[in-house]
Symmetry: C2
Subunit: 377 residues, 2 copies
């Protein structure tokens, strides 16, 4: 695979009351194109990742909308796989470059969530789950809470283990000016915040966020940039109740195995990673299923500091979904941006020393879709 | 380009009160896989084209939903570009095969529209247009009526020219058991049916339809099947008022030029075509912009019978969107199915003799996205 990230652009994540989805998408896209050093007319196609805009505002057809407003007349596509929309947009963009059809493409992930009310957004997000889950009144906090409870019961994972994910990611976010919540929290604060869905408190749960990220990808490996050397997608049942196990995400294992194989690296080669921590249990599962630690050991592994800045492999240096924020379809693109910038040595106070191999892990629903990428200098 | 259509599957188009989107998608997918001769475990990825299901029912994440229900655990993607969703799904699936990442992929286009009320579906479809168009109260019949009026004024195109598209496509549909309206209509009936948006009467306008189509595509050119030799996408402004001209669809010209170039054929080599006749004027514009006739001559060209079965290049032998029906995201896939089956000599009474090169033309909105494919034996 000879695909490079030539440029990256990212808006502040948070509440953008004065901006539309278009505004956010264009801001990120323009920054990415400028950062790539390419003229806009060298961009052959645009991939737009978005989950919710059609539902919340009526507007579909975002590929052509974003492309034409940027003055791009080539291919334009919107892709969606719930919260993994950003990851599959990167994956499909890579295919289009490897095929030789396109030479330089723009991938934009964007979401405008705060204009909707709490119940409207909660209901819209359940589109990532199954019809039976919606009928049963389940929400995503509840679905992941079921997974957390099963993990606690089987492996002795504690609420403190869960909370340590949040504490770490808030610490990382405190070093990231683009983060929605750029401040630290204590373990006590996480444990004592209001219960959302037992065992989760408010600080175990990612927020509702507006934001956009964009990258310019190219098949021209002579340009300066970071290589994407592995890109794999795996799927599973959308409905959690149809899975054989609540304590692992099988699609993570499958996608990771394939992406690492493509890149020709082992999980122990990874120096920095962005993983899908929509809920604190999700980061524990990711550590285990990606192979950073043994199954059942995720909580202890995180609590001992291995994945904090300064540890052996810092995870979610952006602050993750929990503290950087989670504009759903933008997340997979933001993960690629964070790792690219880490590998370029551009992230200031949260820089990981000697970062030369990085990984991203993006999940749709409770694991119906998983996308894993490997990036290298 | 060495991509082949190995198998095709298509449900009846029409009103399926007793079936869900899932039922329709699975029926088409199973038929396509069976027709391909491949075992399901040889399918590496699934591309699902759908525009409206999230809006109308809440259910997103259709890639994983369809894939997992078929027992496929590889890549799964939903793609959307309004009424060109099916065409871009085929285009992106081709990229994934040409890249070498996947060897056999399934593309499913599916839509369940009749469960929604008339105003709900009309409003949902306006997601293909711009925010300003929605605010102005425009609907798609009205947008295309503006294009028709401009064409009539500039080139003397008449209501009879428009109606002749409908008469031809209903004749073709009368030979297609899968068509929503498998019966003939007279020119008088079209002209005298109720006005929908002047100059369009009821029979100038495509219907609301349930249906699904699926194809298995492969990079293995040793398998029996039909080659896709050209695949191109072009985009333009989503908002009609931002275009320089109402009497052409520039993206059609651009996509056709590129697809024909890829295939190494001229428009005069095309023996059979499926084009996007959402409104009768759209087929007239398609004939001109694809290069079948001169600009302004489309009405006369169609009226004289060149594109009717028996003519020099039959167009919309399926019955087109007008008479076969238009389950929006399924349409681009159905076009590939009809041309594949024509090239295989499998369409019975509507078979075009010596069909060896065919073309499909799929439009999103009023031309914000256009996809053109060339198929060859």
């Amino acid at each position: 695979m000879k695909v490079k990230v030539l440029g990256t652009g990212l808006t502040k994540f948070g509440e953008h009351w004065d901006k539309s989805l278009k505004d956010l998408a264009f801001a990120a896209a323009k920054e990415a194109i400028e950062d790539s050093g390419l003229d806009t007319d060298k961009i052959d196609a645009v991939f737009v990742a978005n989950m919710l805009h059609g539902k919340l505002t009526g507007q579909d057809h975002l590929g052509a909308l974003v492309a034409s407003n940027l003055g791009i007349v080539g291919g334009a596509f919107r892709v969606e796989a719930a919260c993994a929309s950003g990851g599959i947009a990167i994956h499909l963009a890579i295919q289009s470059l490897m095929s030789g059809t396109y030479k330089n493409v723009l991938v934009v992930g964007a979401e405008k969530m705060t204009d909707a009310g709490a119940s409207e957004i909660s209901s819209a997000l359940m589109g990532a789950g199954s019809e039976d889950e919606r009928k049963a009144g389940l929400t995503f906090p509840a679905l992941y809470a079921l997974m957390a409870k099963a993990h606690m019961q089987k492996y002795g994972t504690t609420r403190s283990h869960l909370a340590s994910v949040s504490v770490k990611n808030h610490y990382h976010a405190s070093l990231n000016e683009k983060a929605q919540f750029p401040y630290e929290v204590t373990l006590e604060k996480v444990l004592e915040s209001p219960i959302i869905s037992s065992p989760f408190t408010l600080f175990d749960v990612c927020p509702v966020t507006d934001g956009a990220g964009a990258v310019v990808l190219s098949s021209d490996s002579t340009q300066p940039g970071v290589f994407i050397t592995g890109s794999a997608v795996a799927t599973d049942t959308v409905d959690l109740s149809q899975r054989s196990s609540l304590i692992e995400i099988a699609a993570t294992r499958q996608a990771a195995k394939e992406a690492l194989k493509q890149a020709g690296v082992k999980i122990s080669d990874i120096k920095v990673a962005e993983v899908h921590d929509c809920f604190t249990i999700a980061e524990i599962l990711a550590m285990e299923d990606l192979g950073f630690c043994q199954k059942g050991e995720g909580g202890k592994f995180i609590q001992k500091g291995s994945t904090k800045l300064g540890g052996s492999c810092p995870v979610n240096t952006s602050g993750g979904l929990k503290a950087c924020g989670h504009p759903v379809a933008a997340t997979g693109v933001k993960q690629i941006i964070e790792i690219t910038r880490q590998l370029q040595g551009r992230v200031g106070k949260r820089q990981v020393a000697n970062a030369d191999v990085g990984l991203t892990h993006n999940v749709g629903g409770t694991g119906g879709t998983v996308v894993v990428h490997v990036l290298q200098t």
